[in-house]
């Protein structure tokens, strides 16, 4: 099964990357952009989707500073 894990900085935790992007965009002429956050996207093929939660807790995310969200995206392949 194909799964997608979205890992983002926890609310309230400093997100220097998001801040950097937010500052860069207006200089390129893109206005009206706010609340930018940069996280990680992990996509994988997994036999047993019930393991995903534990995988996130233990390896894929750092629960102290990151939230994660698991999405099952169906069939094989990327």
């Amino acid at each position: 099964m194909r799964a997608r894990i979205l890992v983002r900085p926890k609310a309230g935790i400093l997100d220097p990357q998001g801040k950097a992007v937010e500052r860069a965009l207006p200089a390129l002429g893109f206005v009206g952009v706010s609340d930018v956050h940069v996280g990680r996207l992990i996509e994988l093929e997994v036999d047993d989707a019930s393991q995903l939660e534990a995988m996130c807790e233990r390896l894929l995310a750092n629960p102290l500073i990151e939230d994660y969200e698991i999405e099952l995206t169906g069939g094989r392949g990327r």
Binding site: P9, I13, L14, Q17, R58, L59, P63, L64
Partner: protein
Amino acid sequence: MEAAGAPGLAEARSLGLTEYEYGLILEKLGREPNAVELAMFSLLWSEHCAYKHSRALLRTLPTEGERLLMGPGENAGAVDAGGGFAVAFKVESHNHPSAVEPFQGAATGVGGILRDVFAVGARPIAVLDSLRFGDPTAGSGEAGSGEAGSGDTASGDAGPAGGGGAGARSRYLLDRAVAGIGHYGNSIGVPTVGGEVYFEDPYEHNCLVNAMCVGLVARERLIGSAAAGPGNVVILFGASTGRDGIGGASVLASAELGEGDEGKRPSVQIGDPFEEKKLLECSLELLEQGLLVALQDLGAAGLTSSAAEMASKGGVGIDIDVARVPLREADMEPFEIMISESQERMLCVAEPERVGEVLAVCARWETGAAPIGEITDSGLLRVRRAGELVGEVPVAALVDECPLYVLEPVRPERPPYPAPRRTLPGPVEGAADHRADDPGTALLALLSAPNLASRRALFEQYDCMVQSRTVRRPEEADAAVLRLPARPDHPRPGLAVSIDGNGRRVACDPYRGTVEAVLECAANLACVGAEPLGLTNCLNFGNPEKPHIAWQLTESVRGLGDACRALGVPVVGGNVSLYNEGAAGPIYPTPVVGMVGELPDVARAAGLGFAADGDAIALVGSWDPDLAGSELERLRGIELPNGLPGFDLEAVRAAQAAVREAVRAGTVRSAHDIAEGGLAVALAECCLAGARGATVALGELTGGGSGESGAGVWRALFGEGAGGFVVSGEAEALRALGDRVPVALIGDVGGDALVIEAGGLTVREPLAGLRDAHAALRSLFS
């Protein structure tokens, strides 16, 4: 001020204050503190900020010296480096944050110590790190966690996973802490030029991450943090303020991390080295333009601590309006704003007519800045929110009137630590029969032991050369060597820096172990021809309310003071980290000593590696090694001895002076001090660093003890102690050193093996084998 809605004693206790302390606060205020005031007291009266259990001891340290410019009490100490320069330096711990989140904990530890150094106006020119973890080889050989999250922090996916046993956890902490240090230091453009790491079981549940920073500044530009001039403006600049690490100072740094620490986790502080880089350049530019009256970093306890410290030093008051503090999160309470530990912030004081210029410099560096208050002559720290008074405390009460506690030291019957885990077969009792054992096997085991193996896999993750000063890189010499600008009298002057502290030996004997740490640091400097200018230290200990820990601390500080006096080196500052205990008990008592020395000509700084085939090898110093407390005994799982053998401080000092002068004169081509693993390991290290073999005969050195048990041979090969050096050069020149100190010519450089003859035993190990053994840590990082 009205004490409406006073939180009361129960709340005070949950913030870490005792009933007695709360009573004192009532007395000083003449009323109950409100939430803002209580939060400020709880932090400034925490162990971390108030040094409640250590202040009296620290006062016994020698802090005077001809070259001293700034002693303890400022953000960093400073000494005169000659040529119109001052060098500022300090070491600080970030142990508890690193135990919770090693990458960010270590990174923000570096960020914090950098700010302390540029707060006195100095440009940081070097970082060193001192690390302690549990044994990474303990438990199963199974791969650890966190592999995925190495190096690239912008996307580091570290799972702080448990599982895989104690060794895996230690590897994870090591991996992430090293990555965090590198991330911060590399990104900000300050070279990490040295450090040390030890692996011992007592650190398994309480790792240590200490970072030292060295900075350089023109003497007249050194600046203090004393606020002055009522009417002057207080400006906060750097990052905006969020809820980072709220409660950090009291909850994290002043209580033992125990079972329930998950729940106590305050929000982890995230480091942003890019923000700090701008902050650094901005601060130095502000100082260069002469725009500031005082400068102070924000560290533990945030704005509260910084404002109170500045006011206290200047004997003034400060008014702050929290509504003017730029926030990262809306709806923060005044108390949160006052104690937030958001990183990358500084506080400065400027005259009102200079404020515009200050803000312009900040804008140029894209650094946020806001005037948030002013200096008063009230002697009060007053907190307002949009004009409304929300807290008012006498500065003196916050900063100087925290109760100090008297230690009640009791010497334990013996070091209260279990015997180390046995990894090398051999006699368990120190005096047993050694004849059946093979010293070659022991040598390889020592070289590959985590405490002795090459640190290359770690330090290659650090930029050691940015700023173009690094003349001796890690593993090239016993101390890192940095060059300074040329002077009329000296074309190539320089500084040498080193950081040392073997906690296990301090556990055996807190007094002598600490003296040894100071001596080793000075020995490292001597090997590159440098003379110590000043010393900084970080005292990492367990819970000082326990009598045996109080004893360790007392003895250790006594040793520190005695050693500094013997060497004539002032203590310029430092840090204390107490309550370092885990489920399995306290850490080894770990005073970490950092030293900065000067040398007249960096081109003469000796490397540790043998430099030329045919050179003679000499042992310098009145060296009297002992196996008690040695690394060999550790590998053999022998219990810690109750005390270490003594040594003659004067003789050690003389040996260091002789080596230093020989290096400066160019009469030796390599110099290395004998430390963990003894003479055999020191010789192997000289061979490896120089990529040359050596043939050595120890002859008489195996001494009277060479009798039946062969103990004398083992002691000569692997015994440890202060005051011995391995040097190489022309035989005549080495022999001439004997006029001043004991010198024994023991062999010659050459060949592709290390051959040691000792009391009828022969060690013969090809360089390739030594090299493989020494590279053992590499596998932890692949």
